[in-house]
């Protein structure tokens, strides 16, 4: 099965190891992975700020980049949801709209793809640690994917996953919201971190680097010790001990 990676600008810039982990996971599942070089950013920062025309430029670039793809898979629920939003942006441009629809139809978030398309739940991963999971808003509400990550994590050996209170509440990222509405965003991320602390988990797992960058950035600023990892890192983790792995392997990350 041919899979085109859409690694997201955030991963490329700050978390290339997440892109690597995702590649390796998919290859282990016998996918023929390719990386379309024309990809940049899905355009969400502009779209969500109201700059429709600038967002369209990004969208056209992405539509073209993934033109020949069979499946487009991304390690971000939010960016996948943005691809699904493209058709609405080209409401009065039939040609682009059609192409946008084609792209939307073949786009999946990583966990969603593994569970729902490949039909696999046990990736043979092992990660001995106590962890909790942040359900990102766009993944659950815009993409409607609420179960896949939990199914995958339930098979990770040694991983004790504890529920997070008010997990449906936003972490305060919200793209440009995090810089436009700093004082509000701060309260939101602080409450999120409080709930994470209450779980006494060592690791916080998520499937959206935007949220994770926000939560981790705040955790670091507060000098707290919770580790923040993308689910691809957990799923690609085959042998080593969990918590130590987190320390060694996050190149460019904020641990």
């Amino acid at each position: 099965m041919k899979v085109s990676l859409f690694v997201t600008c955030l991963s490329e810039m700050f978390y290339p190891h997440v892109a690597k982990d995702m590649t390796e996971v998919l290859e282990r599942l016998n996918c023929d992975v390719e990386f379309p070089k024309g990809q940049i950013c899905c355009g969400q920062p502009a779209f969500n700020s109201g700059y429709l025309e600038d967002a369209k430029k990004a969208a056209k670039q992405m539509i073209t980049a993934f033109d020949g793809a069979e499946y487009v898979v991304t390690p971000s629920g939010s960016c996948a949801a943005m691809f699904k939003e493209y058709p609405s942006m080209f409401a009065d441009d039939a040609t682009w709209k059609q192409q946008a629809e084609a792209l939307a139809d073949k786009t999946y978030e990583l966990c969603q793809f593994i569970v729902n398309v490949l039909g696999v739940e046990d990736l043979g991963a092992s990660f001995p640690a106590k962890a909790t999971y942040h359900t990102s808003c766009h993944m659950t509400r815009l993409l409607g994917e609420t179960e896949a990550p939990f199914k995958l994590l339930s098979h990770v050996k040694g991983l004790e996953l504890v529920p997070l209170k008010n997990n449906y509440d936003c972490c305060g990222f919200g793209g440009t919201f995090s810089v436009k509405m700093v004082p509000i965003s701060e309260q939101m991320v602080d409450e999120k971190i409080r709930h994470v602390e209450e779980t006494e988990a060592e690791v916080l797992i998520g499937a959206d680097n935007g949220c994770l960058m926000n939560i981790q950035g705040r955790i670091n600023r507060q000098g707290k010790r919770i580790k923040v990892l993308h689910i691809a890192e957990i799923l690609n983790h085959q042998q080593k001990g969990g918590a130590e792995y987190a320390n060694e392997n996050r190149d460019g990350a904020l641990l």
Binding site: V7, C9, E12, M13, F14, Y15, P16, H17, A19, K20, T23, F35, K37, Q39, I40, C41, P45, A46, N48, S49, G50, Y51, L52, D54, K57, A58, K60, Q61, C137, H138, R141, Y168, D169, C170, G172, F173, G174, F177, S178, V179, K180, M181, V182, P183, I184, S185, E186, Q187, M188, V189, E191, M213, Q216, G217, R218, N220, R221, D251, G252, L254
Partner: protein, 480 residues
Amino acid sequence: MPMKIGTEPFFERVDRSIHDDFMRQAMASAQDRLRGRKLEATVGDDSLIDWELWRNAGEEIRRHTLENLDFYLEQLSESYAARGGHVFFAATAEEANRYIQEVVQKKQAKHVVKAKSMVTEEIGLNEALEAVGCDVLESDLAEYILQIDDHDRPSHIVVPSLHKNKEQIRDTFREKRGYTKSEKPEELAAFAREELREAFLKAEVGITGCNFAVADSGTVALVTNEGNANMVTTLPDTQITVMGMERIVPSWEELDVLVTLLCRSAVGQKLTTYVTGLSPDLEADSVDSPKDYHLVIVDGGRSKALGTEFQSALHCIRCAACVNVCPVYRHIGGHAYGSIYQGPIGAVLSPILGGYEEYGELPYASSLCAACTEACPVKIPLHELLIKHRQRYVSGGGHPKASEKLSMKVFGIGASSPSLFQMAKGMAPAMLSPFTKEKRIEKGPGPMKPWTEIRDFPAPSRDNFRKWFDEHKKKAGDDQ
């Protein structure tokens, strides 16, 4: 002015609210309680079979009604008039207030009692009536609490006094009304009830809002829990109902669906204690029913949304489910919105009714988490409407910062040129290295500054995924 709360700039209001620990505590616990109850009474109630089907029906009813609003408004005014009631269409708040003032003055009324109504808050009716020498008493307990506390403003569309706890209410009662008992809700309610009883008997005019007006029967439906609306609508001889022009349903059949959606979403009740149907009833030869009925239908800027991408905002049935799940509202409370309409629906509605000059920040006071859209019983796409406001705001409706416009332009160019993006990615680590400490940035330059006010920023990775991927592929090819 009446829709507006306070005069401070947005961020000052936010700052003050965030530091009000009392209010924050009240908001968070009220939200948790209301959310839980709503879930139990909606998705969690098997007797409904499938809550989603109810939402679909609600959405369809609201869409149909708003698409045919002129028809239903005409039908409503005819059926109301046929029963002997008077109907007045007010284009503005001033027109509505003037009409009501005239009615009251003609009756030489001095005492007015009111049931809960957001639209009368919106038009500032109490002040208008006080200006012509009337004494106005709010009979909804929450509104009464606010009124006696020097006209404090509502912080929630369903429970206007949500920002106050029972100790604060006790103190207000003591200070303003000589109350001597405890903070027990029953005692507080009993005390208010005593004062209200007298007012009900004295009042010449009763004023209510309107949850839904039934077009074909000329009936105003009121959904309440305290019974005060029944007193307001039966004792005073003159009845005035004030409604937003969109609060209309075709017939009792649709009313049934919407009342179900409203009660369950607002307070998690299958049905509120009272659902009152009020129609002018002049033919019956009863001696003790009211003698005079007025229906004031307020536009107040609503028609600006008709036929636009914002029309669905008028589908709102004011249940506050969106407010109760909103994480922004949770932390800043109602007053910080600066409008009597707060939370997600407030952020959508206030700029429509009051303009961007006054409410331009509100559409940005959302992380677009879409909890509101998910909660709305009539499926208003609230987070999408917030984005639509932003689009309007930046394309001429408001005053976006020039620097933001520029950076979005640059974004558009960068996001459509892979070579530029690669160049930027390649240069970023070096450019940011003066700010970078142990792979993190604590004080970022330029646009990163607001981010790093409260959090660290990751240093751009020196690793290049594209290079790794090429090599990785090549290696795999070699191995074969």
